[in-house]
């Protein structure tokens, strides 16, 4: 958008240019932040991998950064993260998807007006508060009928799941609202019920947006820190997939919780445990960054589908 420039005042033009570059600098700061994140993680991670080989880190099945004998196998942490991710996905994906269908297809304008902000509150509660809720209310409540440990993956998963519901529902709902009404009308014309229209027409038509919301929500669950640090415990163990009940009833440790444990310990210095923070952080960053990127690409596809 080029505008005719009627000002021949040299100082004003110069000042305009100066502001343009100043604003550009602000925008470039975001790229600088990404670069800084990558460099910060890489510098110490590279140091770490000079002492512990990458293969040992990625394939080791024991994580014990401070207790002798020390071991830096990240697999137990990744498996712990997976447990929380799967658990919270089981809560948030179906509930979030149904919520999106309700808001987009069933709810009246008035009802949407207060349901949507109420759902957003779920994502606005500080995670440390959720973690506390999981530890002191959810776990004792579930403990009355389940053999739960004080720290367990189950209540942490439920809390993470509740926290990410609005992420699934709001993005999915946007995608469903973007589905043209003509598709719905065509289906109604064939005698379909609202149920059929929602599940067989709207959901398939909005599938890329829904998929994008799923990935974003999972990425948020993977990076979630305080809920799991408080409620899921600090027991790094390679989970046993043949025992699905044991997975959720007992304490685990995620990548993020391991970072908090090292961060709260008094090992701030230059030891291996300190450097392992950055190796785990890099692993976490790469995983979530890749997922966010995929989500963004999928989402940009659906935005163009019905233009």
């Amino acid at each position: 958008m080029s505008q005719p420039d009627f000002s021949h005042d040299g100082i004003r033009t110069a000042r305009g240019k100066a502001f343009r570059y100043l604003f550009m600098l602000c925008a470039l700061l975001s790229i600088l932040t990404t670069v800084a994140i990558i460099l910060t993680l890489l510098v110490d991670a590279v140091d770490f991998f000079a002492e512990i080989s990458l293969v040992e880190f990625l394939t080791g099945t024991r994580w014990s950064p401070t207790n002798e004998p020390v071991a830096f196998g990240v697999l137990p942490l990744i498996s712990g993260t997976l447990v929380i991710t799967v658990g919270s996905a089981l809560v948030a994906l179906p509930i979030g998807l149904l919520t999106a269908i309700y808001l987009s297809e069933y709810a009246s304008e008035r009802r949407r007006a207060y349901l949507k902000p109420a759902l957003e509150v779920l994502a606005g509660v500080p995670t440390v508060v959720y973690g506390y809720f999981a530890l002191v209310y959810v776990t004792p409540a579930l403990d009355t009928f389940l053999p739960l440990s004080t720290f367990n993956a189950l209540s942490a998963s439920i809390m993470v799941g509740i926290m990410i519901i609005p992420m699934v529902s709001s993005i999915s709902e946007d995608a469903m609202s973007a589905v043209p009404d003509s598709l719905r009308q065509a289906s109604y014309g064939l005698g379909a019920t609202k149920f059929t229209v929602s599940t067989s027409v709207v959901v398939p038509a909005a599938v890329s947006g829904i998929f994008s919301s799923f990935i974003l929500a999972l990425s948020r669950a993977i990076g979630e820190t305080m809920i799991v640090a408080i409620a899921a415990g600090q027991t790094p163990r390679l989970v046993d997939v043949t025992d699905p009940a044991g997975l959720f009833l007992n304490s685990i440790q995620t990548m993020t919780a391991a970072m908090v444990q090292i961060g709260t310990g008094d090992i701030v210095g230059q030891g291996e445990a300190y450097k392992s923070l950055f190796a785990v952080g890099l692993t976490l960053f790469v995983i979530t960054f890749a997922m966010n990127l995929v989500s963004e690409l999928v989402a940009s596809r659906y935005r163009e589908e019905y233009r």
Partner: protein, 293 residues
Amino acid sequence: MATDTPTDTDFGQVSRTKDVAFRLLALAATLVGIVSLAALLANVAVDAVGWLNWGFITSPPHPDPYEAGFLPALVGSIAIMLLIALITFPVGVGAAVYLEEYANDGLLTRFIQLNIANLAGVPSVVYGLLGLGLFVGLLGFGYGTVLAAAFTVALLILPIVIISAQEAIRAVPDSQRQASYGMGATKWQTIRNVVLPRAMPGIMTGTILALGRAIGETAPLIMIAAPTTVFGIPNSFESKVSAMPLQIYTWASYPETEFQYGVVAAGVVTLLIVLLTINSIAIVIRNRYQQRT
């Protein structure tokens, strides 16, 4: 599913029951999260009764739950938040103005935009490592100081501030810009006298909501080694600082029931009240603005 597909044979076999059942299921799903949170909030509010009092708000932490207070964490949180506002507001608005008013739709702009979206999804604990490596390590702001905490969390909420400021600027009608240009104003004059004043309520709302997010962040503060318990009020940028969520995290690990169901509940309620106040301010600004136009 098969019965719902209108084929030649079962045309007209439309299940009303299934339709109604699905509607109720979807409604239940919509409410389950809201109702759970409401129940948990009711629980914590009941537990905080008797613990959340003037003494709690105005005392430093104490190993005895009946003496324990929240003052340093409360003041620390607010100090960090004010500094974050000073950092993110100009930078966030500047970036948004560039992206909306100056940048063309080229590759660099799309890259910056994608990058901002991605930054908004980076886990907060990773920002904590950035703060540890950059602000504490390289720039020497010191472990757990007000300065280190504010800069770390500022970078965390900057993408949110930029995105909401962009939306506010985009909402300014183009006719107003054209009118300004028509009067002979330069681009900068148009931005300063027309675009920014019109977009300011929206920008303020977005920034304040982002500050609400900032005040609840815990993980980045842990990573920059903010002390879990501080007894004094921070009196300079280099003071070691605690914050409300950090103090809650510390207390939650104490085994005594008085802490778990009393002191922490009081802390959680205080944090939520502060958060509610911040968000209400944002909503009041938004509503005022909406009424005027």
